[in-house]
Amino acid sequence: MATLRIKGLTKTYGQLKALDNVDLTVEEGKLAAILGPSGSGKSTLVRAIAGFVVPDCGEIFLGERDITHERPEHRNTAMVFQSYALWPHMTVYQNIAFGLKLKKKTPEEIAKKVKWALELVDLPGLEERLPTQLSGGQQQRVALARALVVDPEILLLDEPLSNLDAKIRYKLRFEIKKLQKRLNITTIYITHDQEEALSIADSVVLLKDGRVMQAGAPQDIYSRPGDLFVAEFLGASNIVTGKTLRDEGGLYASLGGTRLPVPDDKKENDEVSLILRADEVELTTEKPAESEDYYVLKGILCDQMYLGSRWRYEVSTPEGHSLLVDHDRNLAAHSEIYLCISRDRLYIY
């Protein structure tokens, strides 16, 4: 186990900057989720840590060891691939034992360790199966066991669950988290699924075009998205763009008939984006009291959708925008309603 420190990592492919001056620290025993859309450089980052991509510049430290130019086989990282990458000609036992054989362990040690690893991933008794005889979830567990059995200093998971169906994905996600905590292993978890990243990670790093857009604890990053991209990527149900307005009180933006502050760098008639999440808005039929804590927006219900546990309403504002808002009761269409939103839950960029 070791702390991972990355400084100024840059990698270009022709014109494309896959990694652009990436700084990243993952403390010993922590799980960092690298989140980003496809092409954001997350795979390049993890492959650079594993040694399959040679960076143009920058440094990678594992503990006190500079591994930037170390060969992959000497890094003591263990990677789990999206495609599992189990070797089809080897049994489960042989797949897991491969790394141990390279470490010149005795057959008894190998047998013991393989057994330990298979119990760890809850697959005892499958030693003699071939990978093709396993389900996708089982294959991914074997891949995990193969990676963990060599006691790596860092575990690299490259979209490990994206080839599995939703139910298994959900289950395995928590198992990985538990395992990681139990073994106290520094882990990098690549994903494009924001929910997965938020639920599993100690810290989330958002990448876009090879650059770190924001990094921090899941709660922080979710409740204080640094910019429009981050907010959008972390699942904003409502993104409204309008123009800034000016009156004697200064610059402002208007939504639901309410005056909203705009960032300091805006000028009159600049584009401004307002972001709010459907589940963070309170919908009421009676006008709430004015407060310093929340904004009150006006609107009219124009459409509704039943989601099972609640309804999702489409609300149109006097400015002509439409917002999606969740509520637990069925309301009459076209009724006039008020939306209460906590001041720190309305993001303005």
Binding site: G51, P72, G99
Partner: protein, 294 residues
């Protein structure tokens, strides 16, 4: 108007559409057979008919029908039979090592020069390859001239007209095709399978040997079978560069026919060659069936 007419057209064509597949299936059966026919005719006339007739003729001699030709063939040429097997297996082993080495290297590294150069012998006919090797490996050939310059030893034995020369010529002519096939198979092994091995501490050599080669083994086997078959059946190269005794079976066959007009023994030797190839095919098929079952 246009929209309406196109709608009409589609509604009219609907019943036709449901009928069409049947007609098409019939048509494609016929056209399929027509397409395969030339190949089938060539196969029948140039391969199956000669095969059957040579098997039949191998049992026919002046003494009547029997094993006379085989007895004679084995009495006269048993050394050559073993020589043929030996030379073919040695060439095969060297071709295997060289082609796996080159394919393994090119799997990890981009080297367009090597990628181009190794294919050159593919485009050289057997006759030219045999002759150029004869010039290259002769006692006063190009190789010895170079070696004499380097080592200062004035007289070096030539490799041509002996079994090492024969093996060198075979290997040089045969390895490109095997490499081409094996490299293709190596490249179709996913990167992640190789990277998983490197990641766990394997070096590239071990990754090729223990991961890539076994995964690509069906194609590697095909390459080896093709190399075996075309080596064991090659006449030109042994004729041009091989020793005068013992010789490869195709040379014996040609000799029996050219000088003795003895088609019986020649055919018997031919059938023995078939049996050698069938023996290998048997192992190949058994391996493939095992793999399929797994």
């Amino acid at each position: 108007m246009r929209l309406a007419s196109s709608k009409q057209a589609s509604s009219v064509s609907k019943p036709g559409k449901t009928q069409r597949p049947r007609g098409r299936a019939g048509q494609s059966n016929l056209s399929g057979i027509l397409l395969v026919l030339p190949a089938l005719i060539v196969l029948g006339v140039l391969y199956i008919y000669p095969l059957i007739s040579s098997i039949i003729m191998s049992f026919v001699s002046e003494q009547g029908i029997g094993l006379y030709n085989y007895r004679k063939a084995i009495n006269l040429y048993w050394v050559d039979i073993f020589f043929t097997i030996g030379i073919t297996l040695i060439s095969l082993a060297i071709v295997f090592i060289i082609s796996v080495a080159i394919a393994g290297y090119l799997r990890f590294n981009q080297w367009p020069f090597l990628n181009f150069v190794y294919r050159l012998p593919l485009f050289i006919p057997f006759l030219i390859a045999g002759h150029s090797m004869r010039v290259f490996l002769a006692p006063h050939g190009i190789l010895n001239i170079i070696l004499t310059r380097i080592t200062g030893i004035p007289e070096l034995p030539g490799l041509a007209f002996g079994w090492p020369g024969l093996v060198i010529a075979f290997v040089w002519k045969q390895f490109p095709q095997a490499t081409l096939l094996i490299l293709g198979a190596f490249q179709s092994v996913p990167d992640s399978c190789i990277e998983a091995a490197l990641n766990l501490g394997s070096n590239k050599f071990r990754a090729i040997w223990q991961i890539v080669l076994p995964i690509a083994s069906p194609t590697v086997l095909v390459a080896m079978v093709l190399t075996f078959v075309s080596t064991i059946g090659c006449l030109t190269i042994p004729l041009l560069i091989g020793p005068s005794k013992p010789v490869m079976l195709p040379v014996d066959m040609s000799f029996r026919i050219t000088y003795f007009n003895d088609w019986g023994v020649a055919n018997a030797l031919g059938v023995i060659s078939y049996l050698l190839v069938i023996g290998l095919s048997f192992y190949y098929l058994r391996y493939m069936v095992k793999k399929e079952e797994a």
